[in-house]
């Protein structure tokens, strides 16, 4: 009898949702996925969002969303055919022979029930334990999930648990049925590095003790590599690469595996492409703040959100604005797009050459106030959930009161292609898109009005590492192709370092430092800047396996090539490679 989990040539397809006009009736979600997890083996399933990892896991449990169906292929666990299993047989498998961990552990608990009652369910269903026996077993499970006070945790409601606690409690629930296979769907993506390591170690202990097969889904190739026996890389619904963890990370064979590693490298501070505007020349200021103060709370002692900030943005520049939450970053963005007006000081806008002072921001679009556009942090909140994406993108164009419906459609489709998306997506509703797709659409929507300045307020903070990297590279390309000036607002040092020509640091509403990027990172002057840079350096290099030098170089060359190929005269970018040892 074959042992462990065997997925063979699995095809999943999506039935077109009702009301969405789509040419093909069944789009493939997975195309011929094959992978195995032997008993006691730790397999990492790695891929960017939308690559089909989660669907692979859900098809093992038989919990696919109703619009997705298995077209062909087979899934067996210890010889049992899971695709052909009856409802009752599947119920015995779920939680019994297969345990599952999820990405958002707190949302996976019923808010009205204690952790203990969640544990009682699988104990009763799969092991026939009730009453005192079940309680004792529940406490034991919580103890082995790393809780020192299992009784208190058993009595706790989900809202009383932190994210890390909830995931450990979920591990206890998953182990309650003594499974032979654990499916972990990005269980640590929402947790910080310390907690991530803790969860991984707990899973690893359970694997060693119980001979548990683990299928660990993640987009973070680096962290999981210390634990995984094998790595399976997925992209676009296919398995692209498979092999021992060491070889996949050491010498990735496929483009998508390299891409995942590069994304990991960005967050790991391994590679830095600092884009200093060395030869920017006598560029003029297109936005200038002079002594701007803004306060929201009235009354004495109320601290202003921004105080006496003087700052300018040069044409064609990428200005990074660093600061912790509450430092006034978003207030700055709101002032620049004229959602708020300054209490004191002035903001000068000369968005096109020859513009007068304070032209109200009317740039190419002709609609006042559209020359500076804003991209927000939460892409799902930036669209009306009840409007088709096409209508959301058309709304700002309708304000111009010019052009025909066909003309608008053409412009919108072009803008969507510009952000590297398929215009077919426009027929969907926001809930039917991924965060990365929506963030590209917010950028497309902003670009439709042909702004001179694009402000990205934590625009990639809500995205996974791979998607973040892709969106950042898209912004760099748009910056180059369209002479777009960018203001990147972020608390993420790496994003700022990766993107900016100059860095401005806001601290408690005041501008405390403004410097060229490499100068800033080499020699921060203000106390707060020093702290920020030191914290970024002190961060442990969690990338367990070294990235092959050739890949670092290849990646660097790709970036350099892109910049040189499309670079404007007089603009060059310095390229810096910082090895792990330096950082």
């Amino acid at each position: 009898m074959p042992e462990g989990l065997i997925i063979d040539d699995l095809h999943l397809s999506l039935r077109a949702p009702a009301g969405v006009s789509s040419g093909s009736s069944a789009r493939p979600v997975l195309s011929g996925v094959g992978l195995t997890v032997a008993p006691g083996e730790f397999v990492a399933l790695v891929g960017a969002s939308g690559s089909g990892k989660t669907m692979t896991a859900l098809s093992v449990l038989g919990l696919l969303p109703p619009q997705i169906q298995a077209a062909s292929g087979s899934i067996t666990l210890g010889g049992t055919d899971l695709l052909a299993a009856s409802g009752a047989a599947l119920n015995r498998l779920r939680g019994g022979r297969i345990g599952m961990l999820y990405q958002q552990p707190k949302r996976m608990f019923n808010p009205r029930m204690t952790v203990g009652s969640h544990l009682a369910e699988p104990l009763k269903l799969h092991r026939g334990l009730r009453g005192r026996q079940a309680r004792a077993q529940a406490l034991e499970l919580l103890t082995s999930a790393g809780f020192e006070d299992p009784e208190r945790v058993a009595r706790a409601y989900p809202h009383q648990l932190s994210g890390g606690m909830a995931q450990r409690a979920m591990l206890a629930v998953a182990m309650a049925g003594q499974p032979e296979l654990l499916l972990a769907d990005e269980p640590t993506s929402a947790l910080d590095k310390v907690l991530e390591r803790q969860i991984l170690e707990l899973i690893d202990t359970q694997r060693r003790q119980h001979g548990l097969g683990v299928l660990y889904i993640t987009h973070d190739l680096a962290t999981v590599s210390a634990f995984a026996d094998r790595v399976v890389v997925m992209d676009a619904g296919r398995v692209q690469e498979e092999g021992p963890a060491r070889s996949v990370i050491g010498a990735p064979q496929t483009a998508c595996a390299r891409e995942l590693l590069e994304a990991c490298a960005l967050t790991r501070r391994r590679i830095v492409v600092a884009g200093e505007a060395l030869g920017l020349g006598p560029s003029r200021d297109i936005l200038a703040l002079d002594g701007v103060t803004k306060r929201f709370a009235k009354g004495r002692g109320a601290k202003p959100a921004l105080k006496d900030v003087s700052l300018s943005l040069r044409e064609g520049e990428i200005l990074g604005v660093l600061g912790q939450s509450g430092s006034g970053k978003s207030t700055l963005a709101r002032l620049l797009v004229e959602v708020e007006a300054p209490d004191r000081g002035s903001i000068t806008r000369k968005l096109r050459a020859g513009d007068g002072k304070n032209d109200g921001g009317s740039a190419g679009s002709g609609v006042p106030g559209t020359g500076v556009q804003l991209v927000f942090q939460e892409p799902h909140d930036a669209f009306d959930p009840r409007m088709r994406l096409f209508d959301s993108l058309e709304a700002p164009l309708l304000r111009q009161r010019t052009g025909t419906a066909d003309g608008r459609r053409e412009r919108i489709q072009q803008a969507v292609r510009d952000v590297e998306l398929d215009p077919d997506l426009l027929d969907r509703y926001p809930s039917q898109c991924s965060g990365g797709q929506l963030q590209r659409l917010t950028i497309a929507r902003a670009l439709l009005l042909d702004p001179a300045v694009l402000i990205c307020d934590e625009a990639t903070s809500a995205l996974d590492a791979v998607t973040q990297r892709k969106v950042l590279d898209l912004l760099l390309r748009l910056h180059r192709d369209r002479q777009l000036s960018l203001i990147m607002i972020s608390h993420d040092m790496n994003v700022i370092r990766y993107m900016s020509h100059r860095v401005a640091v806001l601290y408690q509403g005041a501008l405390v430092e403004l410097a060229g990027t490499s100068e800033f990172f080499a020699n921060p002057r203000h106390g707060h800047s020093k702290e920020l840079v030191a914290a970024a350096r002190a961060h442990p290099a969690a990338c367990a396996a070294p990235v092959a030098c050739s890949d670092l170089a290849a990646c660097a060359h790709r970036m350099l090539g892109a910049n040189v190929a499309g670079g404007r005269p007089g603009t060059s970018r310095s390229l810096e490679l910082v090895s792990a040892r330096d950082a």
């Binding site: 498998l93 939680g95 019923n110 809202h159």
Partner: protein, 313 residues
């Protein structure tokens, strides 16, 4: 929890006092001199003696400052003395209490029927989302929510009392007399509840923890029973309390049409006859009860939600 209760009780008292003051002011802002009205209701003929007016004004204490009158009125009210009805010349309390009992039974029956229908139909609709059953239930409940009582009541009387002669057309004696009024009153809350239960159930069905429950091996039936229905019915508790408060005053039309001796009927008569003590007594009791019920609903909702319960523990 105690602090939470104390705060809610304080808010409740303030609300009732405010309402009572407004009610107290009614005779002062309505056109016409109540003293003359009282006398006119007692004396035949058009001529009213000015000295009689003055005497009655003094007797009722109407020459005192407004706030003295209010405090006196409030004090009497609090001790259960709602004054004498101008028309029947009997204590208002003796009319209000039996009427309150009638209205409460009518409203409780109405809500029970509405909730029962809503739970059955709402759950059925949600579990069959998008199918014919769901569409039919949704369409019917939306049609009924727009059906006014003053139209529906005569229609039902025409059919069941006059044509078929199976139910009494009016009065409040025996269980059969309650059928038509309850049916008329329950229709709109039942429609409203049904859509609320359907929405609540759909939210509960789509929750991530339901997927997780299935992932633990719970059957569909078990998951729905244990994790979906209790969570999905939560919104109904608040909604039912709001309707309870609303129906206490809102049963006027039905009580008048079916000649039911309830609070609505009493209020209607009080206003129609300018019987101010009667109207005041009825309104304050209805308002007080409505405020009390809304507060009770908040408490119940809090008790059912561990997150709220713990925050105030």
């Amino acid at each position: 929890m105690m602090l939470f209760l104390a705060r809610r009780t304080a808010a409740l008292v303030v609300a009732v006092l405010l309402a009572s003051f407004v009610v107290f002011l009614i005779p002062y802002v309505t056109p016409g001199d109540p003293v003359r009205k009282i006398i006119r209701s007692r004396v035949a003929g058009d001529a009213i003696d000015d000295s009689a007016v003055q005497a009655l004004t003094a007797q009722l204490g109407l020459q005192d400052p407004l706030w003295t009158q209010y405090l006196r009125w409030l004090g009497r009210f609090a001790s259960g003395d709602m004054g004498l009805s101008y028309t029947s010349r009997t204590p208002v309390v003796d009319q209000v209490l039996p009427a309150l009992w009638v209205t409460l039974s009518l409203v409780v029956m109405t809500l029970a029927v509405a909730a029962l229908i809503a739970v059955i139909l709402g759950i059925a609709a949600a579990l069959n989302e998008g199918r014919a059953a769901d569409k039919a239930i949704t369409a019917v409940s939306q049609a009924f929510i727009a059906m006014p009582e003053y139209w529906l009541a005569p229609m039902l009387v025409l059919v069941f009392a006059l044509e078929l002669s199976v139910l009494p057309s009016a009065g409040w004696e025996g269980p059969t007399s309650a059928v038509l009024p309850v049916a008329v009153l329950a229709l709109r809350p039942a429609s409203h509840f049904t859509s609320a239960v359907r929405e609540g159930m759909l939210d509960a069905l789509g929750a991530d923890h339901v997927t997780a429950a299935r992932g633990r091996g719970l059957s569909y039936f078990h998951t729905v029973r244990k994790h979906v229905i209790p969570n999905g019915l939560l919104p109904l508790t608040t909604l039912a309390a709001v309707w309870f408060a609303g129906l206490l005053g809102g049963s006027v039309i039905v009580e008048v049409i079916f000649a039911i001796p309830g609070m609505g009927r009493l209020l209607f008569d009080g206003v129609l006859n300018s019987d101010i003590p009667l109207a005041q007594g009825a309104v304050v009791v209805v308002v007080g009860l409505a405020v009390l019920l809304t507060t009770a609903a908040d408490l119940v909702h809090g008790l059912l939600n561990p997150q709220v319960r713990m925050r105030h523990a």
